[in-house]
């Protein structure tokens, strides 16, 4: 079921994670190949967000290993993991509402990074440049999502971890966000959680499905798109497209 290890930038092996006393992840394994977009699928509550948070060290795993670029990061603290070159776009965007757009981006800019990131962001989201001085809390949901993505793009990251960028957005905005991500596809590696199958299809190369905190499928994204039985079994309600 697994691809050969030499090709993975990020590898999770038999991950177990607790939230409080509940055993949420009970054996998640997946590989993210460099340069590709890996989509993490699964129904609501399957443990997708928890998996990403474990990768980031925000909800540390209690068992199993996480390696990034060959180094073990299972027990590393979040800011160290991020400094290795991981950009994170959380599920609920979590922009700093009291800070301006510009402040949000400057905060994300790690010392020593070049101005290229900021230029890229302004090219992808011209709207944000115009609204640089506006409080992020006063932006629309779509604009906030752009800020959240932009925060991950201002640094030259090697891996982007993105959690449901389409969540709660209007269809027009979803396609805008999809376009922006498509524009950077190929330039960096992406681990994407997405319930919107159309978006997952448009962006994904590889797919991993988890169910009840366990990996249940690994394969090409195209196969998932084609296999309606698979979708019915593991993705079920909540998926559109």
């Amino acid at each position: 079921m697994r691809q050969s290890g030499a090709e993975s930038l990020l590898r999770l092996t038999d991950l177990h994670t607790f939230i409080g006393e509940s055993h949420i992840l009970q054996g998640v394994s997946l590989d993210v190949a460099p340069g590709r977009v890996t989509v993490l699928l699964g129904r609501n509550g399957a443990g997708k967000t928890t998996t990403l948070r474990s990768v980031l060290g925000l909800t540390p795993a209690a068992g199993g290993t996480i390696t990034f670029d060959g180094g073990d990061i299972t027990r590393e603290r979040p800011h160290r993991i991020v400094r290795r070159g991981v950009g994170y776009v959380p599920e609920d965007r979590d922009v700093f509402g009291g800070l301006t757009v510009d402040e949000n981006l400057r905060l994300a800019q790690r010392p020593g990074t070049t101005a290229d990131g900021m230029a890229l962001v302004h090219r992808l989201f011209p709207d944000l440049e115009r609204r640089a001085g506006q409080r992020a809390g006063s932006l629309s949901g779509g604009q906030q999502q752009m800020v959240a993505i932009a925060r991950a793009l201002v640094n030259p990251n090697r891996l982007l971890v993105i959690d449901e960028p389409s969540k709660g957005l209007a269809p027009v905005v979803v396609s805008q966000v999809t376009e922006a991500l498509a524009a950077i596809k190929g330039t960096t590696t992406i681990l994407l959680v997405e319930q919107n199958l159309a978006m997952a299809q448009a962006l994904g190369d590889d797919a991993v499905i988890i169910d009840n905190g366990r990996t249940v499928y690994t394969g090409p994204m195209a196969d998932v798109t084609a296999d309606e039985q698979l979708q019915a079994r593991y993705l079920g309600a909540g998926h559109s497209g």
Partner: protein
């Protein structure tokens, strides 16, 4: 008329002292969600450090101007160092357990305050200050001690400094963002622990400075000095809105004035009005004057 002037200026000076205590508390709470009961001990230590410095330089009963100025510096440093040590040594292991953090700051506050009684004496002692500071100036017929003016000026300077720090520096940015969402700050690759230590030390420095000024304001110090004022500082912080420095400043003025004017009429009215104000603010704006909803 002169009574009103006197009460206003004294109330503002009291407000200034509360502000020095509350600003740090508010920042610490805003960023770290820690209700820091040890803050009163930093205040007490600031007062004792100032007193000790003066006693070393110009004797226990007189203070020269240089001795007093040096005392302010020493008090600030002592407050900062104590606070940083407490944060790194004792609070850090408990970040996952907020209630225990509160409890441990209580224990630290108790032990640290009482340590002054152990080292020096448990009873109150007078705080010497330079003659020009204890002298009065006449403002519109009111004879106001000069240390009131100094205290107000110091608080204004601190307020301006803090606003600049928060608005213009990267650390200020981190503190403001961290107050909103600590985890997300970490997820941007920022070492939040360093920011915690910094904020704690900053709060401790302000408390230490406040302690030295408070000693000059009241003219005497004792081991319980900090914990008495801490309660009012808590009220200031809640009324102002946790995490808001401007809110603290505003609330400190309200509380300081209410207390002075109230206590002028009867010995207890001032303290009582303060709690009443708190109740009203909570009913109308549960998150304080300038607090955001959390």
């Amino acid at each position: 008329m002169s009574t009103i002037i006197l009460l206003t200026l004294t109330g503002l000076a009291l407000a200034a002292m509360y502000f020095l205590l509350a600003a740090g508390l508010s920042l610490i709470f805003g960023l770290m969600d820690v209700l820091n009961f040890a803050h009163g001990a930093f205040f007490t230590w600031g007062a004792y450090a100032a007193w000790w410095t003066i006693a070393q330089i110009s004797g226990e009963f007189r203070a020269s101007t240089p001795a007093f100025l040096l005392a302010l510096v020493v008090a600030t440093i002592v407050g900062a160092v104590l606070a940083a040590a407490v944060e790194v040594g004792l609070l850090r292991p408990l970040y996952q357990r907020p209630i225990y953090q509160v409890l441990i700051t209580l224990g630290i506050g108790l032990a640290l305050s009482q340590l002054t009684a152990v080292i020096w004496r448990p009873d109150a002692r007078t705080f010497p200050q330079p003659r020009w500071l204890a002298d009065t100036s006449t403002v519109l017929g009111a004879r106001v001690p000069n240390n009131r003016f100094l205290l107000i000026l110091a608080a204004l300077a601190v307020l301006a400094g803090m606003l600049l720090f928060l608005r213009k520096t990267r650390y200020g940015l981190i503190v403001r963002a961290g107050a909103e969402n600590r985890e997300m700050v970490q997820a941007l690759g920022i070492d939040v622990d360093r920011a915690f230590t910094l904020v704690f030390a900053l709060g401790g420095a302000l408390a230490g400075l406040g302690g030295a000024f408070g000693a000059a304001y009241f003219g005497s110090i004792d081991p319980q000095f900090g914990s008495v004022n801490l309660i009012f500082a808590f009220i200031v912080v809640v009324i102002g809105g946790l995490g808001s420095v401007t809110g603290s400043a505003l609330a400190a003025v309200v509380i300081g004035l209410a207390q002075q004017f109230g206590n002028y009429y009867t010995t207890w009215a001032g303290d009582f009005v303060v709690v009443l104000l708190l109740a009203v603010v909570l009913l109308v704006r549960p998150n304080g004057l300038l607090g955001r909803l959390r």
